[in-house]
């Protein structure tokens, strides 16, 4: 058995890297790999890892099996009756894979250099004269999935028994809008409503309440000109929709 070329246990990401290193260190021609010798060296390397109590990844074991298979195929005399595609050198697939891998390693090196060069130049967009840029996150699909998992992993919120609501609920807001509209046959400017609830939360609740009311066909939003003020009026179903229990049920839903 040959002595094992010095290999560094921590430098191989995968079996192809290890094989390429063995080939390169011994200046072996990749198109004529002495498969018995390389297989032996490869297995010795795995043994060494074992002795160091390092878990060997499945990829390395799979490659060991592949090498042994190639080695045994090489020992058999070629079967003259076999079809042409089986007459191929049993090493061909492996050689292709090694070359493919090496190819991408060079490509990775090229990328690393490009990136290094790119890091030496700066771009400073300047929208300051045009106002913009909020302190929010630019998000990708990956972020979306990640965030969903994080939400699911969060401990459940304590059950909301004693609800101390200082602020108006969606149902209460719907009720308020209803009372307002009931008293008038005409249009109620949306702005008036907004001014009654100037807080952020108030406006959001108003918005949701209006959405519900429009959906329920209790209220119609009217805009007489483009970008003009929006007003509200009763829908013809107004009285039908507001059967006594509607808002109480909504309240349950929005708790």
């Amino acid at each position: 058995m040959d002595t094992l070329p010095s290999v560094h246990l921590d430098t191989y990401e995968g079996p192809l890297d290890l094989l390429l290193d063995l080939i390169r260190k011994q200046q072996i021609d990749i198109f004529d790999i002495p498969i018995a010798r390389i297989t032996q060296q490869y297995l010795d390397y795995l043994h060494r890892l074992e002795q160091l109590n390092i878990d060997i990844a499945g990829d390395f074991i799979l490659m060991a099996a592949t090498l042994i298979q190639i080695k045994s195929k090489m020992l058999l005399p070629p079967d003259p009756t076999a079809p042409a595609e089986e007459q191929l050198d049993p090493r061909t697939d492996l050689v292709e894979r090694l070359l493919e891998h090496e190819k991408y390693k060079s490509a990775a090196e090229m990328l690393a250099q490009r990136q290094l060069l790119e890091q030496a130049s700066w771009s400073r967009p300047d929208l300051s004269a045009f106002g913009d840029v909020e302190g929010e996150l630019v998000v990708t699909l990956w972020d979306l999935t990640k965030v969903f998992r994080e939400v699911l992993a969060r401990p459940p919120a304590p059950p909301a028994y004693a609800v101390q609501r200082e602020e108006i609920t969606v149902a209460e807001m719907m009720d308020e809008v209803r009372r307002l509209l009931r008293e008038t046959e005409g249009l109620v400017p949306l702005l008036d409503l907004c001014q009654r609830h100037p807080t952020r939360r108030g406006l959001i609740v108003l918005f949701l309440a209006l959405l519900e009311l429009v959906r329920l066909e209790a209220v119609v939003a009217v805009q007489t000109e483009a970008f003009g003020p929006i007003s509200l009026r009763k829908h013809k179903m107004f009285d039908v929709v507001f059967v006594p229990d509607t808002t109480a049920e909504i309240d349950e839903q929005y708790q």
């Binding site: 400073r124 300047d126 699909l141 994080e150 919120a157 959001i204 959906r215 049920e249």
Partner: protein
Amino acid sequence: MERAQLKALLEAIIYVCEEPVALEQLAKVLTDVPAEELRAALDELVAASQTEDHGVEIRAVAGGYRMYTKPEHHETVRAFVRSQKPPLRLSRQALETLAVIAYKQPATLPEIQAVRGVDPSSALATLLEKGLVVAAGRRQVVGRPILYRTSKEFLIRFGLSDVSELPTLKEFEELARASLAEAELPAGTG
């Protein structure tokens, strides 16, 4: 340093700085350049940027030099900036709510709240406003709450042709777990 090179360097420095760059600051870094040489190069830079084929000028302001777009182009520049679809930016709250809707759709407000544990009303309003989420009928339960689902805009923004293309949680877990395990294992064995 030759004049051309010096001007190039000064242009680069003024470009990257948000605040006006003072002559003294420059002199401190470019120690081998005499002050009068610096001043002359800066004057040339300022003059060159004034020609009508330049839309960005270097101006001496508040004791320093800074780049500005020229006012005569502001209207068109503003129109261009407005026409741009800005990259999708969302607060954490909005992103969480969007994630829940994307994976649980169609979902009602109470259902979203149950998953998130927080009142999602304000985040939902943002998502509706940005057109990422739309109302999609009502759940046929007491109160008939509105159902929400992701919009076509959502698909476009996230490069999906269909919601079934969303990575499943299992697919995500597999990737995420591998990257966590990586951090714990000695290199070379993973």
